[in-house]
Amino acid sequence: MKLRGRVAVKLGDNIDTDIIYPGRYLNITDREKTPEHLFELAYPDIRTRLKPGDIIVAGKNFGCGSSREQATAAVKFAGVGAVVAVSFARIFYRNSINLGLPLVTSREAPAQLEEGDEIEIDLTGGSVRKLPGGAVLAAAPLDARAVELLNAGGLIPYLRKKYA
């Protein structure tokens, strides 16, 4: 399972869910509308720069804080292809698998990547590579359950198929 994209933005450690999606907009339950408020308070320029398939790179503990699924939805429906970070907070990680947003955990890749880099990610093999011809940077391969859910398009389509 491979994907390619451009590193649109590189962020630091502990990017919390209030930074990703402010609490005041939690009464928006239409997922497609959530990108309007992506990074709105702290980094309002990011959402205007994002193009479909772009990659977000971050440090450790990306998505810490609230369980709000809108944080994942805003990233996904802004068209982001994947988030590459040193580590992810656990609820954000689960939300992302459930909504079908690929997350890539890599200790070494974030430090090596810069905004504007074109990269190729091997989700199942567990690697990140700068294009063209960059070194292979190790990442944690997605586990079987995450791959199954991503292939299904997320938890809702997965369960719909199972129970319908």
Binding site: L26, T29, N61, C64, R90, G154
Partner: protein, 406 residues
């Protein structure tokens, strides 16, 4: 080799004799809690296409984030939830004026019991480890899966055991202890882990104070957190990833403050310096309980909130509100110049009832100080104990209770 509390509970709930860290298990869910985001869960549930929830008696829904409705949009959300609750026969529904903050309401109505697996669509669901439950926050779509199947996969967490000895000095509380620990371990110091608190300081604490520890463990990434209960205990030979020993007398000489904009940016109060405050907030699922209102009333009794500061007090539940009224705490607080908000999350989540303007500073007994958490991105939130919040309201700046009480 024995098992930790998290391992014991997940083994029981998944029908295994024993489980070990990193193993993935599918556990039966004993209790599934949601607040306003039940509307988002409901939408995902409808998208799955199943007609009935797996067990209406294991679902609890409590409105707290925007009560009473602050906008027409929220009013429509509340209405949709009421209709869904009726349609599905969910009896454990706490509407406006019947409950309060979800974690307090869940606890005080006896929904949580030792050994249960509890999931909630709120990150501070870790609170219920104070009752010996494996209690974890999840997202809305995942909850729709729980409503469908009544079970969920978990990776068995490794456990950090934190043993606290010594004693808490005067004016030092559970809030100071957990802020200190978060400062030491960092915002990701317990990521994906279970945290077990024990030791004489913990065992001497009230239930309300133990809830503070379990609640705020989330702010160092914990999946679940426990304080000791009589009904279930870790095995004496359980394997821990790490054991941390803290002498509270030594470590906590001063109240602890989490400075903007991360919860692990913790300093002892004297190191924070002269910080004038525009607003002081006493409330939330972290510190809006009776003992919190009591200590605030004790400090504010016969004194006045500083003229440049506004004090907002939010009892965590209707029951606490009533009890604080009976005991005279509310009268004391009102006479001191406090505004009492209705039970709910209020300004903690930045929606209503005390939003901060650009340039304003707030001292708060709540749980997060992220950028823009309580209003403007250019406002600042300092997190502290209820005693420090009350003292700061009087001083008009961040202050130790000893500075305002002679």
């Amino acid at each position: 080799m024995g098992m930790t509390l998290a391992e014991k509970i997940l083994a029981r709930a998944s029908g295994c004799d024993r489980v070990a860290p990193d193993q993935v298990v599918v556990a039966n869910i004993d209790l599934a809690m949601s607040h306003e985001n039940a509307d988002l869960v409901r939408k995902s549930f409808k998208d799955i296409g199943v007609r009935r929830v797996w067990d209406p008696d294991k679902i609890v829904i409590i409105l707290d984030h925007r009560v009473p409705a602050e906008s027409e949009k929220t009013a429509a959300t509340h209405k949709a939830i009421r209709e869904f609750v009726r349609e599905q026969g969910i009896r454990n529904f706490y509407d406006v004026g019947r409950g309060g903050i979800c974690h307090q309401v869940l606890a005080e109505n006896g929904h949580v019991k030792p050994g249960m697996v509890v999931v909630g669509t709120d990150s501070h669901t870790t609170t219920h480890g104070a009752f010996g439950a494996f209690a974890a926050g999840i997202g809305a779509t995942e909850m729709a899966g729980v409503w469908t199947e009544g079970r969920l996969w978990f990776k068995v967490p490794s456990t950090i055991r934190i043993l606290v000895s010594g004693e808490l000095r005067p004016w030092i509380s559970a809030k100071d202890l957990i802020l200190y620990i978060i400062g030491q371990l960092g915002a990701d110091g317990a990521d994906y882990r279970s945290v077990e608190f024990d030791g004489p300081v913990i065992r001497a604490m009230s239930i309300a104070s133990r809830m503070v520890l379990a609640n705020l463990s989330m702010e160092m990434g914990a999946k679940v957190a426990f304080t000791p209960v009589d009904e279930i205990a870790p095995d004496p030979d359980a394997a821990y990833e790490r054991v941390l020993a803290i002498d509270a007398t030594e470590a906590l000489q001063e109240p602890q403050i989490a400075c903007p904009h991360t919860v692990d940016n913790v300093r002892p109060l004297p190191a924070v310096g002269n910080v004038p405050v525009d607003q002081a907030v006493l409330g939330s699922c972290t510190n809006g309980r009776l003992e919190d209102l009591e200590i605030a009333a004790r400090i504010l009794g016969g004194r006045r909130v500083h003229e440049r500061t506004r004090l907002i007090v939010i009892p965590a539940s209707q029951r606490i509100y009533l009890e604080a009224m009976r005991l005279g705490y509310l009268q004391t607080l009102i006479e001191a110049g406090a505004m009492i908000n209705p039970p709910g999350c209020g300004p903690c989540v930045g929606v209503h009832q005390g939003i901060l303007a650009a340039g304003e500073v707030c001292i708060s007994s709540t749980n997060r100080n992220f950028i823009g958490r309580m209003g403007s991105k250019d406002s600042q939130v300092f997190l502290a104990s209820p005693a420090v919040v009350a003292a700061s309201a009087i001083a008009g700046k961040i202050a130790h209770p000893e500075e305002v009480i002679e």
